[in-house]
């Protein structure tokens, strides 16, 4: 009986935490999308105009029940108020289970929406089992005596162990857990990663490739810039042996120390030109404004490979 009572005691904070979480994630989703009409979860079964009010009602109910469960767990509100709240929570999960069964039949591609954006996976048997389990858990708390502080360390350990086991069971029944873990460790492929042009330019201007070729560049502002897959191409006007030319940089879009390739091309024909040969230590005087290039020109240079038509620097 003691263990059973301990199991029943654990349900109250657990269900309350889940309800707070469900309400919070739904609100976050609504704030992100600016609406609740999108139709995720059982609200998708209703006409569009009814979805927002229904979702709001759902949020309010979840928040109210979670607060009520916490407030009435102890001596305050013990008795009829606590029973009403716990019965309400149990009924809500029963209704939710029925709605999910209906949703699964009517719209098998729609997620349950239980935890907002995390619950986009179609309703499965696991989702239904979790909802059913929670309804049983909530109903099991009816008639539970007022929850008090743990009597001893052993009692506390028992409560924590039960809670851990139940969390594991709930986690196993929650498709959202996998989704959450994926998002935590998710790294977008570079082809899909948005990266600002300013950041790319800043990385370029810190690079060895820039220091090596900035002497040819005549304008600090690029004349063209575009992106293709993982590379951003930046074109600067340049002058090489009094010939109008351009320096093209290809910068790999990564967060740190991007790989950079560069080529010197003829401004008229767009054909590749050989890099000019510099004498070590006698770098060609930059045509850029001194204020812009002072730091760049002061950087150590390496003339090796300057006669090659292209370069690649880390």
């Amino acid at each position: 009986m003691t263990v059973l009572n301990a199991v029943r005691e654990v349900q109250i904070p657990l269900i309350a935490a889940l309800l707070f979480g469900a309400c919070g994630t739904k609100l976050m989703r609504a704030m992100r999308t600016g609406s609740m009409e999108e139709g995720l979860g059982p609200t998708a079964l209703f006409p569009t105009r009814m979805r927002t009010p229904l979702a709001l009602v759902m949020c309010v109910i979840e928040f109210g029940l979670a607060t009520g469960l916490i407030v009435t767990a102890g001596r305050l509100g013990h008795g009829a108020p606590a029973t009403c709240i716990r019965l309400g929570a149990g009924l809500m999960f029963l209704v939710a289970t029925s709605a999910l069964i209906e949703l699964r039949a009517a719209k098998p591609d729609v997620g349950c929406g239980c935890f907002g954006d995390f619950s986009t996976a179609p309703v499965s048997g696991r989702t239904l089992a979790r909802s059913g389990l929670l309804s049983v858990a909530a109903l099991s708390t009816i008639g539970l005596p007022a929850v008090t502080e743990p009597r001893s360390g052993a009692h506390l350990g028992q409560l924590l162990a039960i809670m851990a086991v139940e969390l594991i069971v709930l986690g196993a029944l929650s498709p959202e857990l996998g989704e959450g873990l994926i998002r935590l460790g998710y790294s977008e492929p570079c082809e899909l990663r948005a990266m600002s042009a300013e950041r790319t330019l800043a990385a370029l201007r810190r690079s060895k490739a820039w220091r090596r070729h900035s002497g040819l560049i005549t304008s600090y502002e690029p004349t063209d810039m575009w992106r293709e897959l993982c590379w951003r191409y930046v074109v600067f006007p340049a002058s090489c042996q009094d010939r109008a030319s351009e320096v093209v940089f290809a910068i790999f879009l990564t967060q740190r120390r991007p790989t950079i390739h560069a080529a010197l091309i003829d401004a008229v024909t767009s054909g590749p030109l050989p890099w000019p040969v510099y004498q070590a230590g006698l770098r060609r005087r930059s045509q850029l404004a001194p204020a812009l290039t002072a730091g760049v020109l002061a950087a150590p240079t390496n003339s090796a490979g300057h006669d090659m038509p292209l370069s690649s620097d880390l």
């Binding site: 998710y186 790294s187 600002s196 293709e228 897959l229 074109v235 767009s270």
Partner: protein, 377 residues
């Protein structure tokens, strides 16, 4: 009554009235990229510069009539050999123009003083709101003609006055809709025909402002008589796109999905190119502001104007390389499937110009074909 709205200026990413600038960008960027990565292709630099036709005709050089002033819209010879571009001589070609005369054997297209004759085969089919005999075409109809692969003087397929509106409904008044096709395009008015309202509403149950629509029909002045639903309507409003699924790992070079077509708008009618749904948001373009969506339903690798795609029609096995000439702000909002030959594994991956779509063997009245695009060739 619905009416059009103010038109925004077109940005340089669009192959619009200033399409020659876009063509120059395409060619130049390709050269610069080849200069930086000369060893990637393992072959000489290839330049593809889409021509901007001066007239509405599109033909190969061999088909040029002595009296005409047509220019080719097919990819011209690359600057150097070893291009890898499709031999467009093997592709059916698209010609567009006004019908001057039609008989059971000959179709005459052109403008005053500039006409072109095409032989009609017995199995040539025309479309003007529905299948009909070519002889049912009327002088004054604007026709898009696909030429027979074996002969450039033979018409294979004819579409008369065909138009398409793909966008977001902004106004509704009875059966008339105002549709926004993006910030750089003029809002379009669609008048849904009474005889088509049933079939359209089956596929587009929410003909309300904010929802997406894609209708094929007959062009009449500035309006479109909506007749055929080109797809099924997404359940979500355009402003509330579902969260795109996460993509991890390496993005494949080839992506299979649905290729659609769009009306030329400000583009030259014969331009060969593709509007791509995922241009680099950093480039900045007026379309972004209109739709409010920088990401589409399905994530696709970012490209830019001038990137070249190999587009393959999986239904006809025809393919060719096309430059990205614009962005497709509306196409990326759809999460539909093309079912022309099987079901495409994902939604819209390319929004082709009319000429490209027809040249790749697409049927304009079907709205899409199953396609595979290959990036980075």
């Amino acid at each position: 009554m619905p009416s059009g709205q103010t038109v925004r200026a077109c940005c340089d990413r669009c192959a619009g009235a200033e399409g020659s600038a876009a063509a120059a960008i395409v060619a130049r960027r390709r050269l610069l990229k080849a200069a930086v990565f000369p060893s990637r292709s393992g072959q000489p630099v290839t330049v593809y510069q889409p021509e901007r036709p001066r007239s509405r005709f599109i033909r190969l050089p061999a088909a040029r009539s002595p009296h005409s002033s047509e220019t080719e819209a097919e990819p011209p010879e690359p600057a150097r050999s070893g291009s890898g571009f499709a031999d467009t001589g093997h592709l059916p070609r698209a010609v567009s123009g006004m019908v001057l005369d039609v008989s059971p054997q000959v179709l005459v297209l052109g403008d005053a003083g500039d006409e072109q004759r095409f032989t009609l085969t017995p199995d040539a089919v025309a479309w003007r709101g529905g299948q009909l005999e070519p002889t049912a075409l009327r002088p004054g109809d604007h026709a898009v003609v696909r030429l027979h692969p074996s002969s450039r003087q033979t018409a294979d397929r004819i579409w008369a006055n065909i138009g398409r509106v793909t966008g977001i409904i902004t106004e509704r008044s009875g059966s008339r809709l105002v549709v926004s096709e993006g910030a750089t395009r003029k809002p379009r008015v669609v008048a849904i025909q009474p005889r088509a309202i049933g079939r359209i509403q089956v596929r587009f149950p929410s003909l309300e402002p904010g929802y997406l629509i894609d209708i094929i029909g007959l062009r009449r002045d500035d309006e479109l008589d909506g007749m055929i639903p080109a797809t099924s309507q997404p359940a979500y409003p355009a402003a509330r796109l579902p969260t795109p699924p996460l993509v991890s790992g390496h993005v494949p070079d080839s992506i299979a999905g649905s290729a659609t077509w769009h009306e030329p708008g400000d583009e030259p009618p014969g331009v060969l190119g593709v509007c791509y749904p995922a241009l680099d948001p950093e480039t900045g373009c007026a379309e972004e502001a209109e739709s409010g969506q920088t990401d589409g339903f399905a994530r696709m690798p970012y490209l830019a104007i001038g990137s070249v795609l190999r587009v393959r029609n999986e239904c006809t096995n025809l393919d060719c390389m096309l430059p990205v000439t614009g962005c497709a702000p509306v196409a990326r909002l759809f999460n539909d499937r093309c079912v022309t030959c099987g079901t495409s594994p994902r939604g819209r991956i390319a929004d082709l110009t009319m000429a490209s779509f027809v040249a790749l063997g697409g049927e304009l009245d079907r709205g899409c074909f199953n396609a595979t695009i290959t990036i980075g060739e």
